[in-house]
Structures are given as structure tokens and as C-alpha cells.
């Protein structure tokens, strides 16, 4: 039982990171119909930005703020203006293909221009173990889960409670009515891209201390985030949290009790079951097909 709980908690920590990436993914989809295949690379790049600033001699906090600003500029503004805006009129698939191209360019660009090695990454949390009733959990796991949960809930509170957040939701639900109501639609969509960039920086900060900074770290993470988003429900931002946690926990349990070699298939199996029986996701709403 103690083993089970231990695996469960560390699964929650991993799952909450998937949830961060998945949340950004669903927000982009809702606001602009963008499927971002480069989502994993959007997490990888800030990790290297932070390492780069620190290599230049900036202290951790300054590096973090600079990374945040640079990420919002590059992964938010430049990505929206340079890739999504010109392709928006052609529908979904050209954006998918373009973001696939972008992910290849980012991944291999970091490899060719910076390094193909894995780099250690400073942790936010001290290396400490807790023992509660025979269950050992690391501070890293608790901190990761706690911080990720706070960020996800804060994002949701922002969307549900503030005027700007509600305007963003209005844009996501019905762009035309939103613009009739006097909402600045392009600005709200930009805010979504900016939030996605911030979430990616947060995910980078939490995932990299454990998994190290490497050019291809986004590959697995991106796929898990997609699966988590679809499992939870693509058109529901609470679904991303649920999907991420389910994938993280099940993966950890399956690796221990079934087969570590097939760990990466867990997200896939849940995903298949969900899309075959409830294609709109666990928390999603059904969308009828149009002629």
C-alpha cells in the first residue's frame, strides 16, 4: 500500500506538468482553433533560454524574468503573427503542418546551435524527503504538484472571474458575437498565446530539474500533453487538468505493476478507449458535425 501511494504521488507530480502543457494546448485551440504540434518544444525552448541567461552570468530570478519576457515575445507574439495569423484562413491542417515544421526547426536548431547533450537544470526545491506514515515523498514532487496546481487553478480563476478572462472566453465561444459586443478579439487571442507561453515557461521550470534540459525533451512531453488534453476534453480547460493527472498517475502505476518497457503506451491506451467511447473527452461537450 505504501508503495502504491508513493507511486501515486510521484505520478501526480508528473501529471501536473502534463496538465500545464495540456492546458496551454486547449486554450490555444479554444481561442483560435490552433493545434500546436510544437507544444513540447515550447517547453524545451524556455529551459534553454534560462540556461543561456544563467550562462551569461545573470542570477536565477533575473534569468527567470528575462526568460518569461522572451518567451511571451517569441512563443506568444512572434508565433501568432508569423505563423498562425497568415495561416488561419486556410483552416486547421496547414497550421498543424506548419507547427510540425516549427517543432522540427526548434528541436534541431537547439541541437545544432547549442548542444546535443543533456544539461542539468537548477531545481526550485531543496533535495529533501518526507516520511508520512511510511510513505516517502520528495519535496520536489510535492512542490511540483502544488505549484502546478496553483498555476492551473489561477489560470482558471483568471478566465472565470476577471473581465479580461471572461472576454477571452467569449471570444473562444463565439468570435462574431464577441466582436459585436465590443470585445477586442485580436487582443484577446494574443492574450491566450501569451498565457500559453507563460504556462510553457512554468512547465519548463518544473519538469527540467528531473528530466534534464535536452533538445528532444519536448517530443514525449508534447505527445503526452495532446493525449491528456483529448482525454480530459478538448473544449474544456478543466479537462486538461484531469487528463494530465490521469495520464501521469496511470503511467507511473503501469510502469511499476505491469511493464516499464510499455510505460509510454499507457497514455495511448487511455486515449484510444476515450476517443472510441466518448470522443469529446471525459469533461468535453459534444459538437455535432456540420454539412
Amino acid at each position: 500500500m505504501a508503495d502504491f501511494l508513493q507511486l501515486f504521488f510521484s505520478g501526480l507530480a508528473t501529471g501536473s506538468i502534463y496538465a500545464l502543457a495540456a492546458l496551454g494546448f486547449t486554450l490555444l485551440w479554444q481561442a483560435s482553433g490552433t493545434i500546436n504540434f510544437a507544444q513540447g518544444e515550447f517547453v524545451m525552448l524556455p529551459a534553454f533560454m534560462l540556461l543561456g541567461f544563467m550562462a551569461l552570468g545573470a542570477p536565477m530570478l533575473v534569468s527567470f524574468v528575462m526568460t518569461l519576457l522572451l518567451a511571451v515575445l517569441l512563443l506568444g507574439w512572434v508565433f501568432k503573427r508569423g505563423v498562425v495569423d497568415p495561416l488561419f484562413k486556410y483552416g486547421m491542417m496547414p497550421i498543424v503542418v506548419a507547427t510540425i515544421g516549427l517543432s522540427i526547426a526548434m528541436r534541431n536548431g537547439v541541437r545544432a546551435g547549442y548542444s546535443a547533450e543533456a544539461h542539468p537544470f537548477p531545481s526550485l526545491f531543496a533535495d529533501k524527503l518526507f516520511n508520512i506514515a511510511g510513505v516517502t515523498v520528495t519535496l520536489q514532487d510535492i512542490g511540483t504538484f502544488g505549484l502546478a496546481l496553483v498555476i492551473v487553478l489561477a489560470t482558471q480563476a483568471f478566465l472565470a472571474k476577471t473581465v479580461t478572462g471572461r472576454a477571452m472566453q467569449a471570444v473562444a465561444q463565439n468570435t462574431e458575437s464577441a466582436s459585436v459586443l465590443g470585445i477586442n478579439v485580436p487582443r484577446m487571442i494574443f492574450y491566450t498565446f501569451a498565457i500559453n507561453a507563460v504556462l510553457a515557461v512554468a512547465a519548463a521550470l518544473l519538469v527540467t530539474p528531473t528530466y534534464l534540459a535536452k533538445f528532444d525533451m519536448g517530443e514525449g512531453l508534447g505527445t503526452k500533453a495532446f493525449f491528456a488534453a483529448i482525454i480530459g476534453g478538448f473544449n474544456n480547460s478543466r479537462g486538461a487538468l484531469l487528463g494530465g493527472l490521469i495520464v501521469g498517475v496511470c503511467e507511473n502505476l503501469a510502469a511499476a505493476y505491469i511493464s516499464p518497457a510499455y510505460k509510454d503506451a499507457v497514455a495511448l491506451v487511455i486515449f484510444m478507449v476515450v476517443i472510441l467511447f466518448k470522443p469529446q473527452g471525459l469533461l468535453g461537450k459534444k459538437v455535432e458535425r456540420k454539412v
Partner: protein, 335 residues
């Protein structure tokens, strides 16, 4: 005008065919190997072009079929069976698995289907990597022999190249025929508007399954040829990344253009392989390729082969507007 263009196209095809026939005489061993490599990927992406370009099903799992084909031949040949049994077995197995993969496609569309096929690829790759008793795991299977045809050994790179060229031409001719048959029309109807196609009596269920199965069979044939060409297979070339690359090859060349895969495979596998040993270029090829895909989507979302159509449409609209303004002037002068 159209007849002239057709004549031009036939002349170009004959010329390209002749070039492919005599090219090995001017190339070193590695060059011949690279040409065969290109042809193998042309066959594989021709199949994907049918699934994606003509039938409109977003498949991101094509490398899995390519791998199933390669492993089928390798495993059968290691068990003592002939290549000539392995090749049709590979195609048949891929056809059947393709049919089965088509079933989720009946339930989900577009991006969900892309992820379902991508997941299928992950699953197949995990089996290839983990089931050592069958696939040799990460050590792979080596010393895969090349076959002999009518007592003629295809062991050398040159004879094998001609064999692959022959198979590629046969597969291309089959696809050409298929696309001009009622089936081909049904596939494009399925792509352009599935609901309209259904209401016109096209059995979209069967055609969706068939588009997957036939595309998969092409990948199976290509995989079988690939195993015998490189003579050593391991799971890496059949991972999700390879599927995504094949999808990009189809889109870059021009999805739904018959010759798209020829161009796409050249840009996707032959160029990087050829530039592999050039210092400075090799490392930057993939970043440049990725960036080029983004730019291509922005300027030419239908792929490189849509360029002539695009130029023609632009010229036609320019001529039409010139004619309109001339007509307007004449009208003014008459008044």
C-alpha cells in the same frame, strides 16, 4: 492547349524514365544505393499520398506500416522463407492491419484521427523495441539477404536498383489506374465532402477503410524493399518522427498531386542523406527544412507542385482583368 501540355508531360515522363534507366552507369556505388533509397521512399509516400492526399484521411502512422513490411520480410527470411514469399506477405499483412486501423477513422476525424494513428505508431514501435524474441529489440536484425530473380542475383547495388525501379514503376502504374477508376473518384469525393459523397451513394465506410488499407500495403511493399536494401533493420527508422517526416514529404511535394511523392521524398530523405557528410550543412539541414515547411505553408499551402497551377491561375486572372479593362475602354470609345 491541353493536348499540347499532355504531350509535354508524356515527353517529360519518358525523359525522366530514360534518365533513371541510365543514371546508374554514371554513378558510384553509393549514388546507386541512394537512388534505390529514394525509390523506396517514393513507393511508401505514394501510398500515404493516396490516404492523405486523395482520400483526405489524416494519417500520422505510415512509418509503422513501413516497419511492419520491413520486419515481416526480415523475420520470414531469417526463418528460412524466400523473399518472394516475404514481399507479398508484407503487403498483405499491412493491408489487413491498415483495414483495422481504418476502423477508428470511421469514428473520429481530422486531428483526432491524426493522434489515433500517431498512437498506433507508438504502439508498433514499442513492440519492435521490446519484443526481443521476435524483432531483436534495439539490436535489430542484420544480414538480411537480397533475393535472386530468375536465377539472376540482385546482390549488387546496381541489379537491386533496377529491381526496385521495376517495382516502383509497377506500383505507380497501379496507382495511376486506381485513381482513374471509379474508386479514385470515390476517394476524392470522400476527401472533398464526405457527407455529400455519402448522400450521393458512395459507401464512405468501405472507402475510408480501403484508403487506409491500400496506402498501408504500399508502405508494406516499400518496407520489404527497404529491409533488403539496407540489410540491417532496427526500430529507429519506424518511429513517430519518421511518420511525421513522411507526412511532410507528401505535403511538401503536394498532397493529391500524383508526382508529389517523387519531389517530397527527394527533399525529405535523399537530400539530407546526401548532405550527411558535408560539415556545417549536415547539422543545419533539419532546422532549415523545418523552417522551410513553415514558409511553404504560408506561401504555397498546397505544396511545391501547386506552383504551376498557382502561376497559371494568376496569369489567367491577369489576362481576364486586362480583357475587362480593354472592353471597358472600347465601350467608352464607342460612346
Amino acid at each position: 492547349m491541353k493536348a499540347a501540355r499532355n504531350k509535354l508531360a508524356i515527353a517529360a515522363i519518358l525523359l525522366a524514365g530514360a534518365a533513371m534507366l541510365i543514371a546508374p552507369q554514371f554513378l558510384k556505388n553509393y549514388g546507386v544505393y541512394l537512388l534505390s533509397y529514394w525509390l523506396v521512399f517514393i513507393i511508401a509516400t505514394m501510398g500515404l499520398n493516396l490516404t492523405v492526399g486523395y482520400a483526405g484521411q489524416k494519417s500520422l502512422g505510415h512509418a509503422a506500416f513501413f516497419g511492419i513490411g520491413a520486419y515481416t520480410v526480415a523475420i520470414l527470411m531469417k526463418a528460412g522463407f524466400s523473399f518472394w514469399l516475404g514481399l507479398p506477405a508484407a503487403a498483405l499483412l499491412c493491408f489487413v492491419v491498415g483495414l483495422m486501423l481504418g476502423f477508428p477513422a470511421l469514428r473520429v476525424q481530422a486531428i483526432y484521427l491524426a493522434f489515433a494513428t500517431l498512437g498506433f505508431n507508438i504502439a508498433i514501435w514499442l513492440v519492435m523495441r521490446n519484443e526481443e524474441w521476435l524483432t531483436g529489440g534495439t539490436f535489430g536484425i542484420n544480414n538480411i539477404a537480397r533475393p535472386a530473380l530468375f536465377g539472376l542475383s540482385l546482390e549488387g547495388n546496381r541489379p537491386y536498383y533496377y529491381f526496385v525501379l521495376g517495382v516502383a514503376l509497377l506500383m505507380a502504374a497501379l496507382l495511376w489506374g486506381l485513381l482513374r477508376s471509379p474508386w479514385g473518384k470515390a476517394f476524392t469525393a470522400l476527401r472533398d465532402n464526405p457527407i455529400r459523397a455519402e448522400s450521393l451513394g458512395v459507401d464512405i465506410r468501405s472507402y475510408t477503410l480501403l484508403s487506409f488499407a491500400i496506402g498501408a500495403a504500399y508502405a508494406g511493399v516499400a518496407g520489404a524493399l527497404f529491409a533488403s536494401l539496407v540489410q540491417f533493420i532496427e526500430p529507429a527508422p519506424f518511429a513517430v518522427g519518421a511518420s511525421i517526416m513522411m507526412y511532410l514529404m507528401v505535403v511538401v511535394g503536394g498532397a493529391g498531386y500524383f508526382w508529389g511523392p517523387v519531389l517530397g521524398a527527394a527533399v525529405g530523405v535523399v537530400l539530407p542523406e546526401w548532405l550527411r557528410d558535408v560539415p556545417g550543412v549536415a547539422a543545419w539541414y533539419l532546422p532549415m527544412f523545418g523552417a522551410a515547411v513553415v514558409l511553404l505553408m504560408i506561401w504555397l499551402p498546397d505544396g511545391l507542385l501547386s506552383l504551376p497551377d498557382r502561376l497559371r491561375a494568376r496569369r489567367a486572372s491577369r489576362e481576364a482583368s486586362a480583357a475587362r479593362s480593354a472592353a471597358a475602354q472600347n465601350l467608352g470609345a464607342a460612346r
